[in-house]
Amino acid sequence: MPDPLLELRGLSKNFGALTVTSDVSLTVLPGEIHAIIGPNGAGKTTLIHQISGTLRPDRGTIRFAGQDVTALPFERRARLGLARSFQITSIVPGFTALENVALAVQARSGSSFRFLRPVAGEAALNAEARAALDTVGLGRVADRGAAALSHGEKRQLELAIAIAMNPRLLLLDEPLAGAGPEETERLIGILRALRSRYGILLVEHDMQAVFALADRISVLVYGRVIVTGTVDEIRGHPEVRTAYLGEDALA
């Protein structure tokens, strides 16, 4: 088994008396899609916050690419190759789609304390940004204002931004949320194509998508991982059935 890309060990977090993350340990291997499922309020997004660095855990460690990143802030983890997408789409609305992505390319290509040269004319940044947009199928709307994109296109744009960071791990918080059936199909196709290049930690409500994509699934209930296993193991697990999955989702 290869060294894990991401390793959580004994992660715990309380908000006052409320335990939102309780002794969570899990790994993501290179090239693997590890999905986290669980009912509403199970603490999935809180867990993502702790992994990305926007929340500090009370206890436990987070190792990423062989390095303890528990104390590193959000933007430093991003620079190490931990790319996160948000449950509620987070883009720069006043930028074009291309500029949104080029910003991510810029973050890893040299200093941004450059004050005079027009950045819109930097061919190297734009070329990489266009490549990332093409990967998610947004090449044709590159020059459109990001605010004018459809909801599904914005979700694709967020993926393109994450890809443009040249990350090692994608941390995707409900990438399919709010997408229509057609957009969902397209996004699943994109994620499937990405799996060989990155490790992916996927939080998603859409069970069909999770079962179609995941290599392994962890089930989170009340902040605790009750089971981790392959798709078939999870489908058949009795505790999962009672805790979370409706019968129809397993049909």
């Binding site: 883009i91 941004s112 004050f115 950045v119 004319g121």
Partner: protein, 329 residues
Amino acid sequence: MTAPFHKTLRKHALALVTLLALAAAPFLGFGDGFALSLLARAMILGMAAVSLSLLVGGAGLVSLGHAATMGIGAYTVVAFDAAGISEGLIVFPAAIAAAAAYALVTGAVSLRTSGVHFIMITLAFGQMAFFTTSSFSSLGGDDGYTLYARTEWLGTRILDSRLTFHFLCLGLLALVWVGGGLLLGSRFGRVLRAARENPQRALAVGFQPYPYRLVAYVMAGAVGGLAGALLANATEFVSPALLSWTRSGELLFMVILGGVGQLGGAILGALAIVLLEESLSHLMVYWRLVFGPLLVLSVLFLPDGLVGAPLRLRAAFRFASPKRRNADA
């Protein structure tokens, strides 16, 4: 992929025309001492307003203490004057450096806050600077200080010529405007703009906005210091009133009246306010009763500021005459 030349020209047409008009003004009957000193004041305040616009419109940092940087620049000139030094090669760099240093120290603290707290903390620092200058008894305290002479350059008194001073201010104003525009379009500016619109997104791709904002804050402070040094020369008198928070508010208003979205708006805003103040105060005693409502109306009906006015007028005109719209299509 930079925008085509004619597009750039069109976007900045209003500011360019204003600068050209300022260049022509001395030869079109505005060459007397009174008019020139009025225009110089407008251009200098315009410079400070452009630097504030860089913070407000570019970086999303609404400072209510920007006049302090101007005051520090002016008081540096005064302090050197009191010490018998009036060489511009010493005084001007010192004024700029002093204002930049002030911006660095206060910015390092202020930029840890945001929104209303940022406004309040910049205001508080501005008031500290105000009361500090009031307590300089050797520099006149509350009464202010009259310069013995304008700043010299390599021993020559070139600033004494009002026309030279006019074009110096104009040149520097244009430089600050163009420099600010390049800054916002650069890598650095893109990070600032992204962090203004969505700081979470900037962080997510790996940019901590703080150092970028601090550098922008120091740059704006440096320009404020330059404007202050020029203002001391223009009026040959400096008092703590220059640092009062109402002066900071006035600069902010110039930015908003001119249009937050474009740096050139600040030039228009400064010119409009200085000229309006002057002409209204000649017409009547209670001119502020008219000035206030005019500003309110401008904010209500020109949300994009003066720079956005031509577009808005054209849209209104087209709406009013559908025939013309058909002809255009």
